[in-house]
Symmetry: C2
Subunit: 236 residues, 2 copies
């Protein structure tokens, strides 16, 4: 946690004073070991970054006086389409995507996505949100990403994707692609990443029909945990 | 497992025939579901890639006739110096480094590395090797990386590092660095990545004295699981 993410209801009505309990208080107590007078890095959810000066701290509660005056880091101009990974991996990659500044994430179906993955409790709103918050706290960002679930491949690609990719460069990462990684991409990108085992030919064909170019980082097949930051890093 | 990694003692003396048991057999039985006549992607540890044609398969044993005729993918020209991460993270980042083609890894100490991490059973030779093998199997590579443990920062940086970095571009990743990521690096690179919380100023000073340039991917502070592939991807 390199940033304590604050929410509107942490503030004492109409003031810049904040009270914290629970997980964030525990972090301040056990990791930061803050004392009254210390300044902590804070940010308001979907708002500005700043500092919080500790005015009171106990085992049960923390009070801070906040100054919020800095813009959060720029978002990454990437819309991410990710074939739904297995639940444990999903949690890590959501955290990674959030920490790297992705603001729009579509978890999509593909032939090689196991059906059971769509029943995972980690797809619940609170559970998704938790990973996104951890990513923002890691990176010092405040802007919450949106996550959309698209459990049907065909209608998503045929009906929704053409609108989504408008004004972006649509790229599908695929280890077998003949195209290497594009040297430079101008403007926003829509990046599709397949499941373990890759998209099947029907799926890459559908994505190509929609306007996607399949591109490759090389012959090495990476786990999605590694492929995602490796691909996003191309836009850093 | 996108490749079955074979060892010399899997071969029936003097032949191209291989027998498999244990973890690799289980993978062939339960994931690949291979039948006699099927061809599987194989590679000889530190040797060539090729195909193995299944001649016999049962619950206890697999026999294959192998043809090894292809070079493994090129290694990544990066020597990795990694401040020892917490054990669970270590296992994932070793797999990632191995899958991305790093062949020389130094796990080093730093002020913010918890002392207990050096006592982890995951630092045992067999345990390290297991993650490296998983990485090679993931990426379709055969060349085993070397991992070196350097539990003392100062003698490592003062006595050994000057020799290690000779002929390479030495870069230390540091979120606070003023230099952005270099557009292009020619030739091999030595890449240092700090611990959670970063290198302390004494350590970045020592690295700079040794010839390292501190470089940054941006203001976002990433977990090492994300930072490592994001950084290595710059050399893909």
């Amino acid at each position: 946690m390199n940033l304590i993410l604050l929410h509107k209801d942490d503030f004492i009505g109409g003031t810049k004073r904040v009270t914290l309990h629970g997980r964030r208080l525990q972090h301040v107590l056990t990791v930061l070991r803050a004392k009254p007078g210390d300044e902590l890095a804070v940010g308001l959810s979907d708002g500005l970054l700043g500092r919080g000066r500790v005015t009171m701290i106990s085992e049960d509660e923390l009070e801070m006086e906040t100054t919020l005056d800095k813009e959060p880091p720029a978002p990454l101009p990437v819309t991410l389409l990710l074939a739904l990974p297995r639940p444990k991996v999903l949690r890590r990659v959501l955290l990674t995507a959030s920490s790297m500044g992705v603001k729009k994430i579509f978890l999509m179906n593909a032939f090689r996505v196991e059906k059971s993955f769509w029943k995972s409790p980690f797809l619940g709103e609170a559970s998704l949100r938790q990973q996104l918050v951890l990513g923002l706290e890691q990176a010092g960002d405040t802007v919450m990403p949106d996550v959309h679930l698209r459990p049907l491949f065909k209608p998503f690609v045929e009906d929704e994707l053409p609108g989504l990719i408008r004004g972006t460069t649509p790229l599908a990462a695929h280890p077998d692609a003949e195209n290497g990684w594009p040297e430079k991409t101008a403007g926003p990108v829509t990046l599709a990443i397949g499941p373990e085992g890759g998209f099947i030919p029907y799926e890459t064909d559908k994505l190509r029909d929609c306007g996607f170019r399949t591109v490759s980082l090389g012959k090495r097949i990476l786990r999605v945990e590694a492929a995602l930051p490796a691909l996003l890093s191309k836009f850093f």
